[in-house]
């Protein structure tokens, strides 16, 4: 029996959740105009929350919203107290968001230890061709797709108008009475909640470690660079493609190779199209 269908299916599930995270990242890049290097830490946070809840016998339906709520609170705090004041300083942002990520990684290591932890995902359903459909996997994929669909609708409807306006021109947005600062930190918090939800949904997929968020962070960076901010659909498809590729790479070679491949692709992408990337203002020119 070939393991290939199973590898592809698991990659599909992982890719769906990564799309959730990448969509959050591109929201931050588009609206707040910041490359958020702490996005992976929120993914890890979600996974640890799911672990802690599962440890107490509470399942995903509670853990995922809880993880999202915790991440939203932290995200709003971070956005309000750090990102907004430091936004115009080209040094403070990448280094500061990386500091947040390392801070969380080390805090997680102190709290839960450096050893990999696991969440029991429940018994899988047998499917055709010897493939097993993991119950949490189906839930994760559907939930991610649903949230992304909702985000897409939000972006074209009236309630999403402030987001689009702030993304396009902050001066116009503030002149029509939008509280730009509030839109920024709420977007930041919401995007962090999306990353944490992705982490909580994917918690049963593998080992939970303090640095587990780095791979998904790099994957989101690739997606954002290639797909840009506007298209939720492109983000979704590209994340799934990368999730499948990454999973295949991890299965046939090793998880480390999958991470190295992602890192090399982001380096290649940046050096291949240095000017084609979404412009990040701040200090112009």
């Amino acid at each position: 029996m070939s393991p290939l269908p199973q590898v592809l299916l698991d990659g599909l599930v992982a890719g769906g959740a990564y799309a959730l995270m990448a969509a959050g990242m591109s929201l931050i890049l588009g609206v707040v105009k910041v490359v958020n290097l702490s996005h992976g830490a929120f993914f890890t946070l979600g996974a640890y929350v799911a672990y802690a809840m599962a440890d107490r016998g509470i399942g995903g339906p509670v853990a995922v919203p809880l993880a999202a709520a915790i991440a939203f609170a932290f995200g709003v705090f971070l956005g309000k107290s750090f990102i907004n004041p430091a936004r115009s300083h080209p040094f403070a942002l990448p280094v500061g968001t990386l500091a947040c990520a390392l801070l969380f990684e080390q805090a997680a290591q102190l709290a839960w230890g450096p050893h990999p932890l696991a969440v029991d995902g429940g018994a899988p359903w047998p499917g055709p061709f010897g493939v097993v459909v993991r119950r949490w996997g189906a839930v994760a994929f559907l939930a991610s797709a649903a949230i992304l669909g909702a985000l897409r609708i939000l972006l074209v409807c009236r309630p999403g108008l402030p987001l689009k306006l702030v993304a396009e021109d902050e001066e116009i947005a503030s002149s029509v009475g939008i509280d730009v600062e509030a839109v920024r930190y709420l977007t930041f918090g919401g995007a962090c909640a999306m990353a944490a939800a992705a982490g909580a949904l994917l918690a049963p997929a593998g080992a939970i470690t303090p640095t587990m968020g780095r791979g998904p962070l790099v994957l989101s960076l690739i997606v954002v660079i290639v797909a840009g901010m506007d298209s939720v659909g492109a983000t979704f498809l590209l994340s799934i493609a990368l999730g499948v590729l990454g999973n295949a790479c991890a299965y046939y070679l090793s998880p480390q190779w999958s991470y190295v491949a992602l890192l090399c692709s982001v380096a290649l992408l940046l050096s291949a199209r240095p000017t084609g990337i979404v412009a990040v203002p701040g200090r112009r020119d």
Binding site: F82, H89, A99, L102, L103, L110, V260, V266, L270
Partner: protein, 346 residues
């Protein structure tokens, strides 16, 4: 006619120069007080880390290309020392020279890729390259020596040193001498015309380009010079620790350098060196687990960035300018008609 005094003269510089000499004197005196061997070792490592922080400042401070992968040339040098002495059997000094060359070449490569980029994308690119190198070094499959056991992975690769176990006091003085020498070299570079042009490129790339500066070439130069000094610090570290480990390439190390620079004032060279010595001695002296130490570094950095988002150096410069203008207003009346010293302040 009253001519304003050049920036480099004045009380601020005189006091700073005096403090520096006093600090070096204290550090020279310290081992003679029969200190604890652990403390001596902490300071020796601190000197090498401070040299590394100064080399970060060439790229991230003077040239304004915020790199989060500066561990790459450092780790490349430690691994080159280990592999060349252990596998190829080269004598250590030759291996160290080759390691510095390798680090310089790595810097040239990274600089080539990073020079068209700006802002956060430099950080992402350098971070990705260094992380990739770290993963390859940390993986058990990649580097294994003859004799059936693996050398790679977290355990690292031992370095063959001609002097075996050097007395701690000798390592201490060697590292201190190295720190003074490389800080002096970086300061020379910073105050040269190339350093001035790099500051211009960092401050306003558009104006620099409109002044005829090929900004890509100068950014590459910053990566090359910074990586050469980082490689030298790496070779020194390999000689001190006697082992190249994956930690030499880690994101945490790159991040530490950025922290030292941010706390000490980016672009000042001496500031990051002092910050590195102070923070390293302080946090290492607390005898905490390594995770808590990185936590403290990250916390320190966030607090610094929160209150000095434009940099400690920028704020200090503003305060100094205000003090100086007050000073000059008083001195100007006294000096009326006198001639201020000519010449530039570069």
């Amino acid at each position: 006619m009253i001519r304003p005094a050049p920036l480099s003269s004045g009380w601020a510089t005189q006091i700073r120069g005096g403090w520096l000499a006093a600090g070096i004197g204290l550090l020279l005196l310290f081992p003679l007080s029969y200190p604890d061997a652990y403390l001596l070792d902490v300071l020796t490592t601190g000197f090498l880390l401070a040299a590394f922080a100064a080399s970060w400042d060439v790229v991230g401070g003077i040239a304004g290309q915020v790199t989060l992968g500066h561990a790459l040339p450092f780790g490349a040098a430690t691994y080159a020392c280990a592999l060349l002495t252990r596998l190829a059997g080269w004598p250590f000094p030759l291996a160290a020279a080759a390691a510095v060359l390798l680090a310089t070449a790595a810097g040239a490569g990274v600089g080539q890729l990073a020079s068209p980029l700006s802002g956060p994308f430099v950080a992402v690119l350098t971070l990705a390259l260094a992380e990739a190198a770290h993963e390859i070094a940390a993986g058990h499959a990649f580097l294994s020596g003859p004799g059936g056991y693996a050398w790679g992975g977290e355990g690292g690769i031992p370095v063959v040193l001609p002097w075996g176990d050097a007395p701690p006091i000798a390592s201490y003085y060697a590292a201190l001498a190295f720190l003074c020498l490389s800080t002096w070299g970086i300061l020379r570079f910073s105050r040269s015309e190339s350093g001035l042009v790099l500051r211009a490129v960092a401050g306003s790339p558009l104006t620099a380009q409109a002044s005829g500066v090929p900004i890509g070439r100068f950014r590459r130069l910053a990566f090359i010079v910074g990586s050469a000094f980082a490689g030298a610090a790496g070779a020194g570290y390999a000689a001190h620790v006697g082992r190249a480990t994956a930690g030499d390439l880690s994101l945490e190390l790159s991040f530490q350098a950025a922290t030292f620079a941010a706390v000490g004032g980016r672009g000042t060279v001496v500031g990051p060196v002092v910050a590195a010595l102070a923070l390293h001695a302080l946090f290492q002296g607390l005898s905490l687990p390594p995770a808590a130490r990185v936590l403290l570094y990250a916390g320190t950095l966030l607090v610094t960035l929160r209150f000095f988002p434009g940099g400690v150096a920028g704020t200090a410069r503003e305060v100094a300018a205000r003090l100086r203008s007050r000073d000059r207003n008083r001195g100007g009346r006294r000096r009326r008609g006198g001639e201020a010293p000519p010449g530039g302040s570069a």
